[in-house]
């Protein structure tokens, strides 16, 4: 993309193109290239400034902070924070609360991601082939939770899960069962939040899958059917393999989202009962903003970052398309 016109462009172009391999060759012509670059830099300044101030600086500052004991006292005297090396990190892995939150986050991801993907695929398949009538209605229905604010969602889900006069408790008592106190029991609180998380994120995954499904050429399906493939075989051998790129994308995105899970426990349980739903992000929030252990919280952020990175890379490796 050449943004310059006139002499600058015509001067710059010949110096660059013939010696594409040798970068140093463009150095002597510094003046015109500098100007050429200047235009580019000018155009990207708004982005660069915003990115630098709101992304790059915080990210670097957090990294630096994670090696200090930055706390409430340092609010007025930031430079008094001491460098403590890897202390925050070693302390993290002896912190029972953090380990518990790590486990809880793992629980949420390991159960939540497959559920979201499978149910999302199911919904997409049904909406793509099965249901003809009221298709838009169902699409909106499944997608609505994605665009609904979490506060409204919390109100509804609290009603659904309420142990005394909630929807599930009411249905259960009609049928003669006794529903557990979902959010109040250490055993049931996490599954309840997972259910809520899956419900909230199903729509996104479904939309991705619908788009993926519509990209599968009909000829392939037809050929399979002519060869006598059953519905199940068509799904296993044709649809899923051809959906692989979409599947990979949906899995990666969902996993990253779930590793960062914060809103569900924040609005529903505040991490309780007894830390049963305390996730890494929530723990980080409490350490950082309730107790102002900024150094410690920053270290937590970086541990989570590394985990997310590792899991994503692993997924990309494992689900790489090997057929090509």
């Amino acid at each position: 993309m050449s943004l310059t016109t006139g002499p600058a462009a015509s001067e710059a172009a010949p110096t660059k193109t013939p010696v594409a391999g040798k970068r140093s060759a463009s150095r002597p012509g510094r003046g015109p290239v500098g100007r050429h670059n200047l235009h580019g830099w000018l155009f990207s300044t708004p982005f660069l400034v915003l990115f630098g101030v709101f992304m790059l600086f915080p990210i670097v500052a957090t990294l630096v902070m994670s090696f200090t004991d930055f706390g409430a006292r340092n609010v007025t005297r930031p430079l008094d924070a001491r460098f403590v090396g890897l202390d925050n990190y070693t302390q993290l892995f002896q912190d029972d609360t953090f380990l518990k939150s790590l486990f809880n986050t793992g629980y949420f991801v390991v159960v939540g991601v497959p559920l979201t993907i499978v149910l999302g695929l199911l919904a997409a398949l049904l909406l793509n082939n099965g249901i003809d009538r009221a298709r838009t209605f169902f699409r909106i229905g499944f997608y609505a939770p994605v665009v609904t604010t979490i506060v409204a969602v919390a109100v509804v889900w609290r009603f659904v899960l309420d142990p005394s006069d909630g929807l599930i408790a009411g249905l259960a008592s009609e049928l003669g069962f006794h529903a557990p106190d979902f959010l109040g029991s250490s055993t049931w609180a996490m599954p309840s939040l997972i259910a809520m998380g899956v419900w909230r994120n199903l729509g996104t995954v479904m939309v991705l899958f619908i788009a993926g499904l519509q990209a599968i050429p009909n000829e392939v399906r037809e050929a399979a059917r002519l060869d006598g493939a059953s519905g199940w075989q068509e799904l296993r051998r044709i649809t899923v393999p051809l959906l692989r790129p979409t599947l990979l994308y949906a899995t990666v995105i969902t996993t990253i989202g779930y590793l960062n899970v914060f809103e569900e426990p924040f609005v529903m349980t505040q991490g309780g009962p007894n830390n049963a739903t305390l996730t890494v992000s929530l723990d980080m929030y409490q350490q950082g903003f309730n107790f102002f252990h900024m150094g410690y919280a920053s270290a937590m952020a970086y541990v989570l970052f590394v985990i997310i990175m590792a899991v994503t890379v692993l997924q990309l490796r494992l689900m790489k398309d090997n057929t090509r």
Binding site: T76, P78, N274
Partner: protein, 415 residues
């Protein structure tokens, strides 16, 4: 990366604050009280909304002073104060929540109170203590709150309860009676777990003679008294007298109205809340002093105080304004406007405050009420106790184990 960015943005605020404070750190002399000036005041919640009216009254008699009140919501108050402290932009006068003081005093952003102008003896002891940190006083008590017992009198009759419980043992018997004879869903209400559960536990802890920190600021939460109190607190849950879980933002008055919860420990603002929201409940409920434990009926003291920021250039005028708000006359006026309990005891000697039977209960409770000594990390310290209470009410640990663990954690948080 969301969280990284969020925490990082705080860093950004702090970093920019550093440069600001570096330029603007003057403090020092300031303006005389009778000079023309604008006084900035931050107050929280309802107080923030009502203080504006008082400020207008004040301006009438003090024409040289323009009082600018900014209401701040309680939910964002702490973060706003921290950010303002970091930026050196605290207002001249700021309302301090009882648990904040240690933290901000420790940051060095509050001006010590002149004890010649404000006298300790004028205020409730626990209220005055909340303004002290490390042997110095940083804020003047403004209004107080404490916890007493609210109970349903109509259901009490059904349950065969003749008078309000006077001892902790009676409290549980009555809760059982409500549940078994008056068929209420629960026997009473106490917070099972989560942040600030400790506020619900303080009355039990103090009445049995326990505490979290002693006068020297060292943790004593594993004392036999504390263990006994928590054991007792937990027994309500074990016996199914109280719900083991509670939604965030739970409003007990709703269940009090339906009769699901016939007793709870509540603060002074609840009286107005019940009267306003459930007029049908009139005459069917009453308040009573907190039932006594081994060491009598000792409730918790809360409330807010007023502090002057260390950077303020209007310290003289700020002090005058606080004198007006915390003086007997200003306090009585404030009670009429907000029904907040006055922190100044002289205000209780006239009017409704002196004659009303219910008010006498509040006053008596407040005289003996206790509070934790201010500590820089008080919020974090109490959060460890919250966790211990949660473990006991959920049945995952006994009181002794849970409190020993809390004791060890808190030991690392005190000086």
């Amino acid at each position: 990366m969301n969280r990284v960015a969020a925490i990082g943005s705080i860093t950004l605020t702090l970093a920019s604050a550093l440069t600001l404070t570096a330029c603007g750190g003057s403090g020092g002399a300031g303006v005389a009280a009778n000079a023309k000036q604008t006084l900035t005041v931050w107050a929280m919640g309802t107080e923030g909304e009502k203080l504006g009216d008082v400020a207008k009254e004040y301006e009438k008699t003090h024409s040289n002073i323009d009082v600018k009140v900014t209401p701040v919501g309680w939910d964002v108050a702490h973060q706003k104060l921290v950010a303002a402290a970091a930026a050196g932009k605290l207002p001249d006068v700021v309302q301090m929540g009882s648990s904040y003081l240690g933290e901000f005093a420790d940051m060095g952003v509050l001006e010590p109170v002149d004890t010649k102008t404000f006298h300790q003896g004028d205020f409730f002891p626990a209220a005055w203590q909340q303004g002290s940190y490390d042997g110095k006083t940083y804020s003047v008590p403004w209004y107080v709150d404490t916890r007493v017992l609210y109970y349903r009198t109509d259901l009490a009759k059904k349950a065969g309860i003749k008078a309000a419980p006077t001892t902790m043992a009676e409290l549980q018997q009555d809760a059982e009676a409500y549940q078994s004879k008056a068929h209420t869903k629960w026997g009473m209400d106490l917070k099972p777990s989560g942040l600030d559960t400790v506020q619900s536990f303080y009355p039990f802890l103090y009445s049995d003679g326990g505490g979290i920190l002693n006068a020297q600021g060292k943790p004593v939460i594993d004392s036999p008294q504390a263990v006994k109190a928590l054991d007792y607190y937990g027994s309500f849950f074990k016996k199914g007298l109280i719900a083991k879980s509670e939604q965030p933002g739970y409003d007990v008055t709703k269940d009090f109205n339906t009769g699901n919860v016939p007793m709870f420990l509540g603060g002074p603002w609840m009286t107005g809340l019940i009267a306003d929201n459930y007029p049908g409940l009139k005459g069917k409920w009453a308040v009573a002093p907190l039932p006594a434990g081994d060491k009598g009926s000792v409730s918790m003291a809360g409330g807010s105080s007023l502090a002057v920021s260390a950077d303020s250039t209007h310290k003289a005028a700020a002090s005058k304004f606080i004198q007006y708000l915390t003086g007997a006359k200003g306090q009585a006026d404030w009670f009429k406007r907000t029904a907040d309990l006055p922190a100044n005891r002289a205000a209780w000697d006239s009017g409704t405050l002196a004659t009303d039977a219910e008010m006498k209960i509040w006053r008596k409770q407040m005289e003996t009420a206790r509070t934790e000594p201010s500590a820089a990390k008080l919020t974090e310290i109490t959060s460890k106790v919250d966790a211990a209470i949660g473990a006991v009410t959920q049945g995952s640990a006994d009181a002794k184990t849970a409190l020993t663990q809390a004791q060890n954690q808190i030991a690392g948080l005190t000086k």
